[in-house]
Structure formats: structure tokens, C-alpha cells
Amino acid sequence: MFGLDKKDTTLLLVVALLTLLAPFILNPFPTDSGLAQFNAGYPDLMQRFVIFGIFAIGFNILFGLTGYLSFGHAAFLGVGSYSAVWMFKLLSMNIIPAIVLSVVIAGLFALVIGYVSLRRSGIYFSILTLAFAQMSFALAYSVLTPITNGETGLQLTLEDPRILGTSATADGSIPVTNLFGLEMRSATDLVIGPWSFTFSAGYYVCAIVMLVAFYLAIRIFRSPFGMMLRAIKSNQNRLNYTGLNSRPYTLAAFVISGMYAGLAGGLMASMDPLAGAERMQWTASGEVVLMTILGGAGTLIGPVLGAGMIKYFENIFSKINDNVLHGWFAWMPDGIEDLTVAIIHPFIGKGWHLTLGILFMLVVIFLPGGLVEGGQRIMRLFSRKKATKDDKSKAKQPAE
């Protein structure tokens, strides 16, 4: 189906099902229960899951396939966000032109930065991308203040010209982003017994964009172009002596992944129309590297899993505080309770990065293929058990 083989079609359908049903799947705990804080099914977080999913899918096309590790991809995400907000200010609150501009501008940026950075490979390439990203950050933060509004960040105001739309609504507030009238922040709640599920227009727009982005990534992975990119990672020397020019291949991969980042940035601004320089900082570039490696670089689904996992940790672990812990361990004797809470304390709240770091180290050391490899090992464990059973039944047959 869709020009994919059976395995890839199944994968796409599973991912589609999971994303479309996410408001249910991510909200397994009743609203009033103590575990409700582990629910992730609220629009803001779900949007972040899929937007960072897009970012990581695109990053993986470069890093996972060619092995070129960029430390500057957040710059393209930031550029995408600024472009989208400017489109909202000048043209219309419809998200389509905003997103198109984000992708185009990010692609142009990637073309320039990639053209220069790809003159080197390995660590030198990484450093060049990092330098470019830091330059972009500095430009956004101070030098280009008229365009980026510096450290305050670019926001909508009541004075925006907005050619195809109004500067302000009838009641004097700033208009909201929409898709041909469908407001991105609109949502409906569905209450079933003690559960409550929220369906947000913004989330579903992001989810559908991510599914399209994921589908395109599968096509790229399975194309001759994708094969060339894997060949570059495997043995660039051999590729050159086989008559292929690796430079345009890597540049194309770089631009495509930059456009994915721009798309993510544009969507981010479409959900919440503001853009700040911090989105371009090197920590943001590092985060997408972590997502991709954590999930499994070079695999199709890995980056999406990695993005989901990191964003879940960021939002859920960072919300747990000492009071919550005391609630959990109230059954312990007082002294031991305090001790337990004190031990766990550094790993929660603001310390969630510590938990993430440990998790990352464990994955890299024990599962170099990321979460996907973990999943494969579990599958193999099951299929081996099944296979040995089959062998036994086969072995019996000749005797009969």
C-alpha cells in the first residue's frame, strides 16, 4: 500500500493508529486518581511529542543514514519558528502559508550552512555546524533584534498589519492561529466515567503532518537515494571510487533534514505563535541528537520513540516534587520515608536531567541500537521460544 512493502505499511498503520488514538492511550489513569499526574494526554504535551517527533525523523535522515552528526539543527527549527510568526504578523493567521515559509526558509539556511560544513567530515563537520548554530543564536538574540525582537522573543501584537486578516478581533484581542477557520487551540472534552479525554484541533493537525513526514521518511529510506546515503556512512572511500560524488548526496540529506526541522519550528509557532532565540541554542541541538540515539539512529521508528520518551520525562518527572514523594512513601516509617525521599530528590523536579542522563548512558552502553534494539531483543526472545517449539514438532514428523 502507498508504494510501501508489507512490513513498512504495517509500521505506518501502527504509528497512525497510535498517534490518532493518543488522547486515549496517553490518558490511562482516571482524572481524580493519584496516578493522574502520569497522564500525558493533554494537548500541549501531545503536540510536543509529534512536533519533536518530526524534528527527530528529519535529523535521522542525515545522522542515521549518512552518519554526519550535526550539532546545529536547532538553528533550522528556530528559523522556521521566526518565519512562521512573521507570516502570522504580515499575511494571515492561517497556518498553511506560515508552515510553507518555515520549510522554505529553513531549507535555504540548510543549503548555505550545509554547503560550507560538508567540506569537512567527522568531528570537524560537527564543530562547523555547532559554530553556525551558535552564530545564528547570537544573531537572533542580539544582532538581528529588529527581526527577532531579541531576548523578549517575537510575538504577535495588536498593531500587526496582517494583509489577509484583521489586526485585532472585534473584542480587541489578538486573533488566533487557524487552518481555514479551524482554530488550533479549540478542543473538546470527552468524559467517560472517571476518565476525561481531550481532543484538540492543534494536536490532530500536528499528528497528520507528522504522519505525512514519517511516510516521506520511509520512502526516502527505501529509495536508491537512501541506499546511497547508507553507502556513504558505510564506506565513503569505496563510494568515490565507484563513480559517485558523495558531496551532493550529503548536501541533499542535510537540506532535507533542515526542512524537517523548519517544519517542526513552523508547527511549534502555529500552536503557540511566538518564537524565541532559546529554541536555537546548542542545548536544543543536543536534545535532538539524544532523541535520535536514544530511540535508535538509522531506524525508522526510533527517533519518534526517543522524542516521545524525552518529552515525557521532561514534563512528567519535572513535575514530581517532594510533596508527591512523601505522599507515595507515607506508608514507610518516618525516618526511612525521609531518607528515601532525600535519595530520590536529586532525580526529580529540576533534576530530571540527571535521570535522563543516567537513562541515556544505560541505553548507549547496553543497547547501542537504542529503544528499537531493546524492542527487537524482546521480540527475538519470544520468537526463539516459538521457533524451538516448531523445531520440536517438525522433528517428530519423520518418525511418524
Binding site: R219, S223, F225, T242, G243, I256
Partner: protein
């Protein structure tokens, strides 16, 4: 006039004269061997032919065109394929994919953006690659991860990758170096088979002169960066100059 004409090539590395006034002419559809003791400059000469090194002086003409100043991929597109001293293959890819890549390079040139249509729809390329593998008795290994092949099979795969491009000139740098006796004999048989079955010009670089005696139409002996003699194999064995060059090495 040969398909490959090397004239007056010099190459220095600092104070070391690696190649000194090398002249060489390889005739079409022949097997030309270049032998010489270790450090004679054989690999340096080959690297000057494929664009890895640029000679200080002299000219290298292939098919009437100069190769000097061209990048390796451009020279390959002109019709020169090479195998490396240690087999260079795409270890992360399957055996079949390894052979498909040179097919793409031959059909589509040095770069083509075909990012949407799936590889599985490239029926002709797949068939061509598979036929090549069948030719070299490797079809049963087509889905194997190529990094897990034996050393001899890696060499065979690399040959398949070069031959599938139907090169006008195939360059081999010590194809049997570091191989066990059995693998060496296998490789010699493979090369003989290729020579008989195909119209191909080969230039083989070898340290061990016994490998090439049964294979080569002509042999050039290189010593200290300069060709000593060029002759038919049967005349090379008895040549006192050659003996001296090789004895000088072992002594």
C-alpha cells in the same frame, strides 16, 4: 597507442623520489602486470592513475583524455574501476545492494536525486546485479550482510562491484596480498576466468611475481620508482636485471 598512456611521471614525497620518469603503455584487451619489490612505488603509481595523487610532472592519458586533476569519481565515470589492496566494500549493506550501487553509478552518473521511488521497483538494476553475482557464484549470498563475508568472498564481491560497471580498464592493487594459499589460487582462477570470458583490459599490481606469470600478457618490472624492463612473462623470469631487483630485496 594504448588505452592507458603514462608519460614521464615523477612523484616526490619530501626527499623521497617515489616515482622517477615512469613511462607505461597498456594496450586494449590485454592483461598488464606491474611487479616490483616492496616500496618500489607500485601503489603510488596506481594512485596517480585513479585521482588519489597528482604526479609532480608527466601526463596520464586514458582513452585520449587526461585524468590529471580529476576527482576519483570522475575518473571512474570515464571507465576506470579499481579494487583495493584490502577489499573495500559497503560492509553495512547487503551483498546485492553492494553490487546495485555501481549499477546506479553507471546508469545515472555521479549524482541523481531519486528519493521517492523504491529500490524494489528498480527491476533492471536488480537483475543486472543478480546476474553478476551468479556469474561469480555468489548469488546464494545475496541477502547476506556483506561485512560477514569471508576475506576471499569480500574480494570476489569487490570484483563483482567493479565488473558490473563494465569498465574499460580494471586496476587491481595486490589482489592476493595477505591471502592464504587457497584464497590466492581462487583469486588467480577468478582473474583467469574473467580474462577469458570478457573483453577487458586489466592492470594488475603485484609483489609476488609468481601470481602474474600465468595471467599477464605483458609485465613491467618497477624498482625504486623506475621501470626496469617491460616484456612478455616468459622473458621476464630469466632477465638478470629482474633477479637483481628481487634478490636485492631479500638480501
Amino acid at each position: 597507442m594504448g588505452i592507458l598512456e603514462v608519460k614521464g611521471v615523477n612523484k616526490r614525497f619530501g626527499g623521497l623520489q617515489a616515482l622517477g620518469d615512469v613511462n607505461l603503455s597498456v594496450a586494449e584487451n590485454t592483461v598488464h602486470a606491474i611487479i616490483g619489490p616492496n616500496g618500489a612505488g607500485k601503489s603510488t603509481l596506481l594512485n596517480c592513475l585513479v585521482g588519489k595523487l597528482i604526479p609532480d610532472t608527466g601526463s596520464v592519458m586514458f582513452n585520449g583524455q587526461s585524468v590529471l586533476g580529476r576527482k576519483p569519481f570522475e575518473i571512474n565515470q570515464m571507465g576506470i574501476s579499481r579494487v583495493f589492496q584490502t577489499p573495500e566494500i559497503f560492509g553495512d549493506l547487503s551483498v546485492l545492494e553492494n553490487v546495485m550501487i555501481p549499477c546506479f553509478a553507471k546508469r545515472d552518473g555521479a549524482f541523481r536525486m531519486h528519493a521517492i521511488e523504491g529500490v524494489q521497483n528498480e527491476k533492471q538494476i536488480m537483475e543486472k546485479a543478480l546476474l553478476m553475482l551468479e556469474d561469480l557464484n555468489m548469488a546464494d549470498k545475496r541477502n547476506m550482510h556483506s561485512a560477514s563475508l569471508s576475506r576471499g568472498d569480500k574480494r570476489r564481491l569487490e570484483m563483482a562491484m567493479c565488473l558490473v560497471q563494465e569498465p574499460k580498464l580494471l586496476l587491481l592493487d595486490e589482489p592476493t596480498a595477505g591471502m592464504a594459499r587457497a584464497d590466492t589460487n581462487n583469486t588467480i582462477d577468478l582473474l583467469k576466468e574473467i580474462k577469458e570470458k570478457r573483453d577487458i583490459t586489466m592492470c594488475i599490481i603485484e609483489h609476488d611475481m609468481h601470481v602474474v606469470f600465468s595471467l599477464a600478457d605483458r609485465i613491467t618490472v618497477l624498482a625504486q620508482g623506475t621501470p626496469l624492463v617491460e616484456d612478455a612473462p616468459e622473458n621476464i623470469k630469466g632477465n638478470p636485471k629482474v633477479r637483481e631487483a628481487y634478490l636485492g630485496e631479500t638480501a
